[in-house]
Subunit: 407 residues, 2 copies
């Protein structure tokens, strides 16, 4: 597997574009389109929030229904959530408008929205945006980057990644883009992430690869514990790499899974590290737990602890808060038997053992907590299951961004 | 029922004191004692955190074991959590020291701690503190107030309340004190709360009254979602009111329950409203839910949402975040059928109905969100169960307080 430049336009046959459509704000890109020259198999996962935005329902029905799609239209000004029947009608109108210009069926157009909840879309602007996007569609790196920029809300930078590998004698590419950066919490892919691939793979295995990967990637990040109404992860596979169709779990399937996992992990970590107001990526690894599920719960409990996140912001080795967060996770363990380590392979120090703090260096601990990525390892000493979760610190800027997001 | 002045010294036969013992900080009260002239029946609830502080284990064993106690010793500098066997030995030493001077058995002395996790107590200071507290014990309002002040950590004011009522021809008093104000989250009484009463009541009914009340009072508040290692609620009943012992659920029992509920609700709301950095009490009432448990989960989900809490701080009527938090609570409902109201009985406005926003006045909404108590009502239209949860806004000061709490 090779890491290459680009994002959603890296794989063969995929084009993208981003444009300013003044959906809510002036002078910023706020609409994006992804288009494949041929129809794609589509797999996706969606928010588990009972309150689902209209585009989530629209996409879910297409992905779970006919299971193919050829284009995605996204706006990042208004979420189209809590908008009633009107909101659903907007999705159809968006898809119909794009379908007509692209000359594809309206139910091959997926729709994404992120932004303010409760406001209604101005359809004339959406339509004008689509009319600008279609002629701008391009398979260049630049076009993919502009699409990645156009789906941003409070993100401080765009997020894209691509990898390639060999399968059936052909080069296969998987690329993706994603946006955060608030209302982000493990439970379904978080916010918007779009992955495109030219892999030729059966619909069933595509779905299986996607649903197998999300629990360890997008579902392991959290910025603020709020699971959005709009969370959407979509993977489009157009088969244009020309490899023989993957229909069983052979080494080509494993290569695809590995590539997908790399793309998803990279995008997920980028989201967490660019969480609203964040100054650091907070990476918590739980090892030797009794079950995988328990490892996930423990790791997520720590990255979502407000007190721990505030301590990371302050570069304060307040490890008691980590112990506390493990303790209220709901998983049972013996505090006297676990170990807590600060730092990554580059240099780790033992903090807690036998039910109390060891004699560690505060200076060294503070140094580790001042890195751009703060890594903590909890060794549960109960079994061999492990999991990693990614969050960020809790800062003044999170408050600033969210105390008055609408205005 | 009559609201009266005072706290833990309001009921007959209870004395208290607070003093400076330099447990961690200089020049502030940091040790408190409560003492009853006669042995009390003791009921309590404790943190559900797997990581339990030593004093929590100490108190739990006494309350669930012999079930009586006569004194409580609290320090507010060091939590004595994650301190191993040493921490347990400190509890015993504290109880033995107090027991000897007070001339009561050591296992009649309950111990409470709050503060930094992981540090070991300096026992010489604890002992010196006890030696100062005993001669200062007094049944005055002033003494109770000093005790309430001495258990504070990041609280901005002390919290106490007392009520009296008639039972069996006698005046019975229930009074209490509590402290917050971070690491506070529904799951067991939150942080430290001590209630004293001179009610003559059987141990069984005292326990039942306590365990029946906590789920609707202390377990319905949250400051930051972090369930502490030290949460402790204790209720001591010394019977000195002289009423015939309450041994069945008659009207005297109901009067006691009502008084206890008032004291606990008042202390719980005071904790939430004085949450770290808070500028407002955030009160969420869920009505017409299908079950009581669902009503509680829904209400708690809203008060714990970081995004909603930040919006409250900004006086921003971003009601979509409330809908979102109801939606990810885990409770199933139809978003098209619920109603959302801002404001209390003094003046409520409808915000959301039939799956979308109604045409409300932003100005009026902002005014409601600028009150010292922000009240939101979610009408689920599913049944007749209701619950209220109390939280606070999320502010710059929360970050400031917690980014470097240890130093």
């Amino acid at each position: 597997m090779k890491i290459i430049e680009g994002g959603v336009t890296a794989a063969k046959g995929f084009k993208a574009a981003g444009t300013e459509a003044a959906i809510k704000y002036q002078n910023r890109k706020d609409m994006a389109m992804i288009y494949s020259e041929v129809p794609c198999k589509a797999a996706g996962t969606f928010t588990t929030n009972v309150v689902k935005a209209a585009p989530v329902i629209w996409d879910r029905d297409i992905v779970r229904g006919k299971g193919t799609a050829q284009a995605v239209v996204v706006n990042s000004g208004i979420a189209n959530a809590c908008t009633g029947d009107e909101g659903m009608a907007y999705c159809r109108e968006t898809a119909e408008t794009a379908g007509k210009i692209l000359n594809i069926p309206y139910d091959s157009v997926l729709v994404g929205s992120t932004g303010v909840i409760g406001m209604q879309l101005k359809m004339d602007r959406i339509k004008a945006g689509i009319e600008k996007l279609v002629p701008a569609l391009d398979d260049s790196l630049q076009a993919g980057t502009e699409a990645a920029e156009a789906i941003m809300t409070t993100d401080t930078h765009s997020k894209q990644v691509a990898v390639s590998f060999e399968a059936g004698g052909k080069t296969v590419t998987v690329g993706g883009m994603a946006k955060g950066s608030g209302m982000i919490h493990p439970n379904m892919c978080t916010m918007l992430a779009y992955v495109t691939t030219d892999m030729n793979i059966s619909a069933e295995l595509l779905r299986e690869a996607v649903s197998g990967d999300i629990p360890d990637t997008f579902n392991m990040i959290s910025v603020d514990g709020d699971t959005s109404t709009n969370d959407t992860f979509l993977c489009l596979a157009n088969g244009m790499a020309g490899n023989p169709e993957v229909t069983e779990k052979n080494e080509d399937y494993e290569a695809f899974r590995k590539a997908l996992n790399y793309v998803n992990t990279t995008l997920a970590k980028a989201m967490a590290g660019d969480g609203e107001g964040a100054t650091a990526l907070f990476e918590v690894e739980v090892i030797n737990a009794d079950t995988k599920e328990h490892a996930r719960i423990l790791a997520k409990s720590v990255i979502t602890s407000s007190l721990t996140k505030a301590a990371i912001y302050g570069h304060d080795a307040n490890w008691g808060r980590i112990l506390c967060a493990l303790g209220y996770s709901g998983v049972t363990f013996d505090p006297d038997h676990i170990e807590l380590w600060f730092g990554s392979d580059a240099g780790r120090i033992l903090i807690f053992k036998n039910g109390k703090a060891v004699d560690y260096s505060e200076e060294e601990a503070t140094k580790i907590l001042s890195e751009k990525t703060v890594h903590v390892t909890a060794d549960m000493k109960m079994g061999d299951a492990s999991a990693t979760a990614w969050g960020c610190d809790l800062t003044y800027d999170y408050i600033k961004i969210n105390a008055d997001y609408r205005s």
